[in-house]
Symmetry: C2
Subunit: 338 residues, 2 copies
DNA sequence: ATCGAGAATGTGACCGTTCACATGACAGTC
DNA sequence: GACTGTCATGTGAACGGTCACATTCTCGAT
């Protein structure tokens, strides 16, 4: 009797057509060593002929290995997270893993929790978090997650489970650069306070100013968007009691420079601006933006590497943070006498 | 005997603890109507107590429904595709589906093919393609994909399987705007020629100029990046035989404006520039960019909606393309006598 | 020719869930 | 009080692979 046409061929169909047992087909699929070359070829031919594809669900069921890495990401199209995500995907695929991605739009506890719940119900083998809000850590603690996990862009939290460019150090590089140019009144427009990396950058700002005995001013809490940078700029520039601004990311720096232009101030003539991230567009802002470059792709790749290591029995390693790089362009200049 | 501690609880464990049969637990999980409320509650209590999570692999195996939508995406951090991807993810999750995403870095046939192969081996139920290179269509044809699929951002190809903002129309709006301002010498910096949307925008450019009886000039083939826009700009501006440029996306427009500034030309005083996409930063470029807005999120949501419709037995619908919107800012101005 | 070892291949059970069908409980009807 | 229908729940089989173990084959050494 013909095999039913409306069903995908399974391993037994292949076995029958190749005249071997299903176990032999399984061995071919799994590159078992003790298979006669002729047999292997016959099986492969049949597989190709009938278009057989192993059923991943069945495989996952019996091996209890899903070969899936879960990713919790924030629902934003920002350059950094997106780049990391692509790198993770590529590295995972390379290693024979797939990704199950879910994103959260708001940072509230309930949605973080439900995102993690969702991922865990996929029986993921490992977890990457690219949504570095503070509350994520509480949620992870509470769920007492049993798979290897790693959080990205979360400087200094929970070593062994985090991996990041050293945000604090990057921020200090930015501020030191401004101080080196003679600036003494330096503002900081930061990211949302519940983001770990925003917090770390803010710390760097405060530390560096503190060590230089300069006046620190309470940072303005932003939301990462160019819009915010713009409106904050319009407000701040009503009192020109500063000569430089360190922005928490490139987008806010862009918006801030827009505001400068609008009120007739020159960057860097009147105000110096430094960003953070070095998104590809930053080199073409007007003026091209001085910023802190971090290698998002590298972070993603390392994350996967580390997780796979743990899955093969390794221990979580306390990664030394990656050092960012100061990229000097044209948005910063030596302070001029007013 | 205690259940083994190192194994996740399964449906039979729950059944035993709740004093019911495994089928009853299954009914509770699947919201079967004929369950006594008291029984349901007892089962739910046990589930909560032992932290039971249904095994998706087993479920997928027996129902032969993976509840997974495959996404083939291009490996780029561009605003548009990323936004669509997030929208797809959210819509899919809402409907109880998960995503299996794979991305291709290059547009060559082999990597497209292997990306599709990979997705199909996940036994996906539907497919979304956000990597609208021309060759993707050949690959889809050749694999004679049997699941519902839809390609995004691929104006005019294969109606019923594509969904997009009307790129050609958007391009015409952009060019018409420039013509309305008195420009007669208008250049076009396009995206890579093997991208369907780049091609469609180019067609729009050519059509609109043709109808206005204006000189069309062969478009410059770019790569979507600000870098390209910049270097192309430097080159083009050596001969100032044009007064306006329509760029295939906002990034290239940014780079081009950078080049203008560098050679001492004013935008829009000397040259008018129009972009495409309206990425959030575009409003804060200097000058703020006139561009064509398309709703990437809407596209993603509609794609999922349509695919789910097909999965429930509906027919592929030839979607009418979404109309984009011209956003006039400060990078375009009436042409001035030279 | 016999034996044994290792290579090559086959058989039965199982992973955790849902499906189809069987059974038991209970109320309403005559 | 037996009969019927409906609701609630239980039982066996199946999904498509892999694992552990059993069996057969092959071939050189004795």
């Amino acid at each position: 009797m013909e095999p039913q046409r409306n069903r995908a061929p399974n391993i037994r169909d292949v076995a029958r057509l190749a005249g071997v047992s299903y176990q032999t087909v399984s061995r071919v699929l799994n590159d078992s060593p003790s298979i006669r070359p002729a047999t292997r070829q016959r099986v492969l031919d049949v597989i190709d002929e009938v278009g057989y594809r192993p059923n991943q669900a069945a495989r996952a069921l019996v091996t209890s290995r899903s070969r899936t890495i879960g990713v919790l990401s924030s629902q934003s199209a920002h350059y950094g997270p997106t780049t990391s995500l692509h790198a993770i995907e590529a590295a995972a695929r390379e290693a024979g893993y797939r990704l199950s991605v879910t994103s959260i739009s708001t940072g509230d506890y309930a949605s973080i929790r439900s995102g993690l719940d969702y991922l865990l119900s996929q029986s993921i083998e490992a977890l990457v978090v690219i949504a570095p809000q503070v509350r994520v850590f509480d949620a992870i603690q509470e769920l007492s997650i049993s798979v290897p996990f790693i959080t990205l862009e979360s400087t200094g939290r929970d070593p062994g489970h985090s991996l990041s460019v050293d945000q604090t150090r990057g921020a200090r590089m930015a501020v030191r650069h401004l101080i080196g140019l003679g600036h003494t009144e330096i503002l900081h427009i930061s990211g949302p306070q519940d983001w770990i990396e925003a917090e770390a950058r803010m710390q760097g700002y405060l530390q560096e100013l503190g060590e230089a005995d300069l006046r620190t001013r309470s940072p303005i809490l932003g939301d990462w968007t160019a819009h915010f940078g713009y409106y904050a700029g319009l407000e701040l520039l009503r009192f020109r009691d500063f000569t430089a601004v360190f922005c928490g990311n490139d987008q806010m720096a862009l918006g801030f420079m827009h505001a400068c232009r609008e009120v007739g101030l020159s960057v860097p003539g009147d105000i110096s601006v430094v960003g953070f991230d070095d998104m590809p567009e930053a080199a073409h802002f007007l003026p091209p933006l001085t910023t802190i470059r971090q290698d998002f792709g590298e972070i993603g790749r390392r994350a996967v590497q580390q997780l796979l290591g743990e899955l093969q029995g390794g221990q979580p390693i306390a990664n030394e943070p990656i050092v960012p790089e100061l990229v000097i362009r044209s948005s910063t200049a030596r302070v001029t006498a007013r």
